[in-house]
């Protein structure tokens, strides 16, 4: 074996085995993620109707069309509204659940599992249960049955825009699905807080409850909170499953609760098959997510060394 080959193979052929195990996944990642991604960026500068091959160079035409499209801008508005609902709601609920479960003296594992279990449920299945059983608009839907007990009229939860009850359905299904996961993150954070801090606070006369939470627990959860917030915002941007399954039908999708991914799905993969325009929208969306994440991370000082 030449010295060069030996160097390439590494000591104990570690380099060889590294590539044997990592190589196939790296090739898959490149082939199925990065190549389509770069192709999509390339395609966004071309007209491409019903084809993944560029047909006519349009420069920034697709970008200006997308940014001038009221429906796309409206979908960004939907996302902002959804984020405004879901991020604080999930944050508060999962933190509350974590605090409650953390204080339990018995059956902690049981309650931890109970709250975490919905995470294992598919968004599609949960959405269909919400749509068909809990929040359907007829008299035998669960929510309408409860309203009926109080003598109230039945409500078409997903079909009325004023008041916009569909937000209640969309937000609750996601809360049910994801709060347990973030509760686990907060629980891990809570269990990392040193008991001596609480003891010292008690010695200094801090009242248990709100005062301890505000001055000890919450500041100590700073790193976890920042990570949770980042994940929540990114997940909100990627919202698709519950929106699509709750609100779409065979003929289309209503404009009032259409997040960007649903809009791009219809543009690029729907009957439109406008892959150039869809690619431009995807690039715009990816840039917005990237910028929002970086700004948010800097704002909260993610990764900065603790003082």
């Amino acid at each position: 074996m030449s010295a060069r080959t030996a160097r390439l193979l590494g000591p104990q052929r570690r380099n060889l085995w590294f590539w044997v195990f990592v190589g196939p996944f790296a090739v898959g990642l490149g082939l199925f993620t990065y190549v389509p991604l770069l192709w999509s960026v390339y395609l966004s500068f071309f007209n491409a109707h019903n084809t993944v091959n560029p047909t006519e160079f349009v420069g920034l035409g697709n970008y200006t069309a997308m940014l001038g499209d009221d429906a796309f801008l409206g979908s960004l508005g939907t996302f902002l509204l959804f984020t405004a609902f879901i991020v604080p709601a999930t944050f508060a609920l999962s933190l509350s659940l974590a605090l409650m479960v953390n204080r339990l003296r018995f059956a902690q594992a049981f309650f931890r599992s109970v709250f975490f279990l919905p995470t294992a449920c598919s968004y599609v299945v949960a959405s269909l249960i919400w749509k068909l059983s809990l929040f359907n608009g007829v008299r035998f839907g669960l929510a309408n049955t409860v309203l009926g007990w109080f003598g109230l009229d039945q409500t078409a939860w997903l079909s009325t825009t004023s008041p916009p009850w569909y937000w209640l359905v969309i937000v609750t299904v996601r809360l049910w699905l994801q709060a347990g996961f973030y509760m686990i993150l907060f629980l891990a954070g809570l269990q990392r807080i040193s008991p001596q801090l609480y003891e010292a606070a008690a010695m200094d006369g801090a009242r248990p409850g709100w005062q301890v939470f505000r001055h000890i627990t919450f500041p100590q959860l700073r790193a976890t909170s920042v990570a949770v917030l980042l994940l929540l915002v990114i997940n909100a941007f990627q919202a698709f499953d519950e929106f699509y399954n709750l609100l779409s039908d065979a003929r289309g999708y209503p404009p009032y609760a259409r997040p960007p991914l649903v809009y791009l799905y219809y543009t690029a993969l729907g009957r439109d098959q406008n892959l150039g325009l869809g690619s431009a929208g995807a690039v715009i969306l990816a840039l917005i997510i990237a910028v929002a994440t970086v700004v948010q991370a800097r704002w909260f000082g993610l990764g900065r060394k603790e003082d």
Binding site: T51, D249, R251, D272
Partner: protein, 415 residues
């Protein structure tokens, strides 16, 4: 005991991977003779249809036709498959759309259809024609109708509505604490109505000379009446199944429902003769009763490597074998054969509400024109949603749609 070394294990895994990759199923390669053809259908709900289309394919001796029955979002599946070489040779299509024709995804079938062109329902054949060439063969016609429950109308002293005003009035009178007057789908009619109210007002989506057909005050007027149905709380919303399923109607959740012809046998079974059918009623002096008609078409992929064999097969199945066409339309589900001569012969379509439906489809049928693109449909549907649910001004909304339609017409005509 044989010890498997690392090298042998890796070699075996590599071989397995290759074997798996080579075995990818494109749907081609049945057991018959002749060239191999892959034929795709969307999943029909009616039991027996899949077996029937496989039987038709097996009866064809000049090619080895393999049927793929595709559940799920068929339109998107075919749209994606047609971008590649591994798509079908022959497929049914909800169209074909103008963009599909212009990008060469479907083959020209003019010479196959020409000898019997006049025997097809002209309303459904027209959207399959572009620049005097025929790009798909209509298989079976579907239409939508207004079903009404005779006993409920009688109890409320309401006549079957013959105008949109009468429809609004009837729906209001028929609405009680437990029963709603009318079901147009869980979105209040946004998805299913499409151009129907415009046609009922004597207008169209695209005129015959290729311009937007609803630049007229009558369009805003009729859409405002649909909004009135919503405001009156006469519409059933949020039913467990949507407009295409007659469940809400037969369960007594609504007195009237807009649904498809396919629902007729189920309704007749549940309600006997306690129901009737109507077209969407006319609006205004220039209006006319109207029903939308449409047909899945048999098409040949523009990327098929067996174009000649595929064309020969679709001619055999959808032009020559009229017995199979009749069987396909009426033995499993309930559709009108696309050929007028076959529709006239069909025993099941000669009396009662079925005969009315055939008459409506022939006399009042309209199909979405080929120039009405997906972008137009999306813009119009969004506008309809804002008009019906949010009370947006119909004139302002329609003006925005007109701008979109003009831009789309320019785009497609440029090609």
């Amino acid at each position: 005991m044989t010890v498997i070394g690392r090298r042998r294990l890796l070699a075996a895994m590599g071989g397995l991977t290759l074997a798996t990759a080579c075995g990818s199923n494109t749907g081609r390669g049945g057991s018959g003779s002749g060239p191999a053809l892959a034929q795709w259908y969307h999943q029909y709900g009616e039991p027996g249809t899949q077996q029937a289309v496989k039987r038709y394919a097996a009866a064809y001796k000049k090619a080895d036709v393999t049927v793929q029955w595709r559940p799920g979002d068929y339109d998107r599946q075919t749209a994606a498959a047609l971008l590649t070489d591994s798509g079908p040779d022959v497929f049914e299509v909800n169209g074909p759309l103008l963009d599909q024709i212009q990008s060469g995804q479907v083959a020209d079938l003019t010479d196959l259809v020409a000898p019997v062109k006049d025997d097809f329902n002209q309303a459904v054949l027209a959207p399959k024609i572009w620049q005097d060439k025929i790009w798909g063969i209509p298989q079976a016609v579907d239409t939508q109708l207004l079903y009404y429950r005779k006993s409920l109308l009688k109890d409320a002293g309401v006549q079957p509505p013959q105008s949109v005003d009468a429809l609004v009035d009837a729906a209001k009178k028929l609405t009680t604490g437990k029963v709603k007057g009318l079901f147009l789908g869980n979105d209040g009619g946004v998805g299913v109505l499409g151009g129907t109210p415009l046609f009922a007002a004597g207008l169209s989506l695209i005129t015959e000379d290729g311009k937007a057909g609803f630049d007229d005050p009558a369009a805003a007027r009729v859409l405002a009446k649909i909004r009135q149905l919503y405001v009156d709380k006469s519409l059933l919303l949020g039913a467990p199944t949507d407009w295409s399923d007659p469940a809400a109607f037969v369960q007594g959740l609504t007195a009237m429902q807009w649904s498809g012809l396919w629902a007729l046998p189920q309704i007749a079974k549940a309600l006997g003769d306690d129901f009737g059918v109507l077209p969407f009623p006319k609006d205004g002096a220039g209006g006319k009763p109207t029903v939308p008609v449409g047909a899945y078409a048999a098409a040949v992929s523009g990327r098929s490597k067996q174009t000649a064999a595929a064309k020969e097969f679709v001619k055999w199945l959808w032009i020559d074998r009229t017995d199979f066409q009749q069987d396909f339309a009426l033995s499993y589900g309930f559709h009108i054969p696309a050929r007028i001569s076959l529709a006239k012969k069909a025993r099941q379509l000669r009396q009662g509400p079925a005969a009315d439906a055939v008459r409506f489809a022939t006399e009042h049928g309209y199909a979405e024109p080929l120039l009405w693109t997906s972008a137009d449909r999306n813009a119009y549907q969004d506008a309809l949603s804002r008009i019906i649910k949010d009370g947006a001004n119909p004139e302002t909304e329609l003006r925005a749609v007109l701008r979109k339609v003009d831009a789309e017409l320019q785009r497609v005509k440029k090609k």
